[in-house]
């Protein structure tokens, strides 16, 4: 009798846990989709601003408009890398699977925006400086960032034991972030051709007000798009993990075997 109640309690708790995780997944879907909707709407707005509304910059001409895509991309790429490092560190500390899923989601989003920076940068450089590639510090830094992300994904999937792969990836994410300031110092040391910062200055942005509006719209738009991708990808990772657990519980011979190998 005692034993039965014990088993029942365990079952009830499992159901409760399942229900609460269902709630979080619903919240994930709601936040992911609504942030995404606002983000996409703002993306359309800022593209309209870039193409039709914002005044053309005097010295660089029409090319300068790439900047409105380039700069928000770079900002989001670094934001994502920060989230990867933070989630990885807390994951190693607490061992919560959720945090690893968050780090993975941020890394995938970061990879997308790093690629945007790497595509828009050379396009601009070709027209402004007459060359596709220069060893310009921030562009070089972004390239290295892209490869650090690549290592993060390669390491993640290169182990038989999945938990080990996660820990390896977390270590790569943390060490990568720790080294970013030093890499930045070295690439800066090679003299910079890059335009000096115009937005993040202590004496306030040195931009035409319309340009500033466009930049901030773009920054907001892509931050929201990134957060939406981040949340939705996180939800998918949680669902994947749950599906895996369920199939092992159900005794599906294939998954059970895999579970035995990977655990």
């Amino acid at each position: 009798m005692e034993k039965r109640r014990g088993r029942f309690q365990v079952k009830a708790e499992a159901t409760r846990r399942e229900a609460s995780s269902h709630m979080t997944l619903r919240a994930v879907r709601w936040w992911g989709l609504s942030l995404g909707a606002v983000g996409v709407a703002l993306t359309i707005v800022f593209h309209w601003q870039v193409f039709f509304w914002v005044p053309t910059e005097a010295s660089m001409g029409i090319v300068q408009r790439i900047f409105y895509i380039h700069l928000p991309g770079a900002w989001v790429a670094f934001l994502a890398f920060g989230i990867v490092a933070l989630c990885s560190a807390v994951y190693l500390w607490l061992g919560e699977e959720k945090l690893d899923h968050a780090a993975l989601a941020a890394a995938e989003g970061g990879m997308v925006f790093t690629t945007i920076v790497l595509v828009s940068g050379p396009l601009w450089a070709r027209l402004a400086w007459g060359t596709w590639w220069t060893w310009e510090p921030r562009l070089t830094l972004t390239l290295l960032l892209w490869f650090i992300y690549l290592g993060y994904f390669l390491v993640r999937n290169s182990t038989q034991n999945r938990d080990r792969g996660r820990k390896f990836a977390a270590v790569v994410g943390i060490v990568g972030a720790l080294n970013i300031p030093l890499i930045h110092m070295s690439v800066l040391w090679f003299r910079s051709l890059h335009p000096q910062p115009v937005v993040a200055r202590t004496d306030g942005p040195q931009l035409h007000p319309d340009m500033a509006t466009t930049v901030f719209t773009a920054l907001g738009a892509w931050t929201l798009v990134f957060l939406s991708l981040f949340i939705l990808r996180y939800g998918t990772a949680r669902l994947e993990a749950r599906a895996e657990r369920t199939s092992v519980d159900m005794g599906d011979p294939l998954s059970a075997e895999q579970g035995a190998v990977t655990s």
Binding site: L92, L144, L145, F147, I148, L150, G151, L154, V155, S158, T159, Q160, N161, D163, R164, G165, K167, F168, A170, V171, V172, I174, V175, G176, L178, N179, L182, I183, M185, S186, V187, W189, F190
Partner: protein, 226 residues
């Protein structure tokens, strides 16, 4: 503290003794360095550029590639016959294990670094500075920083299916500060500039080494435990 240092030295001495019995890694890395220099000689048209002019950069690239080869084997022996489990149950904290590995790798790579400089001096008539201390400091810092990061990552690649082919992908992006400031200061010192001009590079190299060592000490336990 003394007990801790003894533990570090015990681990390092174990690796060094294995190396002294076989000379495997040193022979491979040494041959690599000499042969790489031979290839450099034939890869360059001396009418356009003399290897001496770009010696500092070539030295650092050679060190990185040779070191990569040696580091990839850091945990190879332990992977056989369950020796890693034996090492992990030893009454030694994980960070001492890491520092021991860093110490033995640094000693081995340090020897290879000295050989590299000697080979370049011999083959390409690179004039070594009359006061070798600043150059030694740069090379020593570079070696320890490289090994500190490389030992951590070779622990990762040893546990992965991709093995050594993963190591450059993980390591090279992070080695940019080391190669930048290492070869810049080496070039300055070889050209006979006063050592004071390399002070900034030395500071960055020191920072790099300290960051890498701290990260390794803190994070190593997570990559060897299941």
């Amino acid at each position: 503290m003394r007990g801790y240092l003894r533990q570090v030295w015990t681990i390092a001495w174990k690796d060094l003794r294995v190396e002294l019995r076989t000379w495997e890694r040193l022979a491979a890395m040494g041959a690599f360095v000499v042969l790489a220099a031979v290839l450099f000689n034939y890869a360059m048209d001396r009418g356009i550029v003399h290897p001496r002019e770009i010696a500092a950069g070539l030295i650092w690239v050679t060190i990185v590639l040779a070191g990569l080869m040696g580091l990839a084997r850091t945990f190879e022996l332990e992977k056989e016959d369950g020796a890693m489990e034996g090492l992990l149950v030893a009454p030694v904290p994980r960070d001492a294990l890491y520092l021991g590995k860093v110490l033995s790798n640094s000693i081995l790579l340090g020897g290879v670094v000295l050989l590299t400089v000697a080979v370049f001096a011999l083959f390409f008539q690179v004039a070594l500075p009359s006061n070798p201390l600043p150059l030694m400091a740069v090379l020593a810092l570079g070696t320890v920083g490289f090994v500190a990061l490389g030992t951590l990552f070779s622990g990762i690649t040893a546990g992965s299916r991709m093995g050594g082919s993963l190591l450059p992908v993980l390591l090279f992006p992070l080695l940019v500060p080391l190669v930048t400031f290492g070869s810049a200061s080496t070039a300055h010192l070889l050209a006979g500039f006063p050592p004071g001009e390399s002070a900034y590079s030395l500071r960055v190299l020191t920072a790099f080494t300290l960051v890498a060592l701290t990260a390794g000490v803190v994070l190593f336990r997570f990559i060897v435990e299941d």
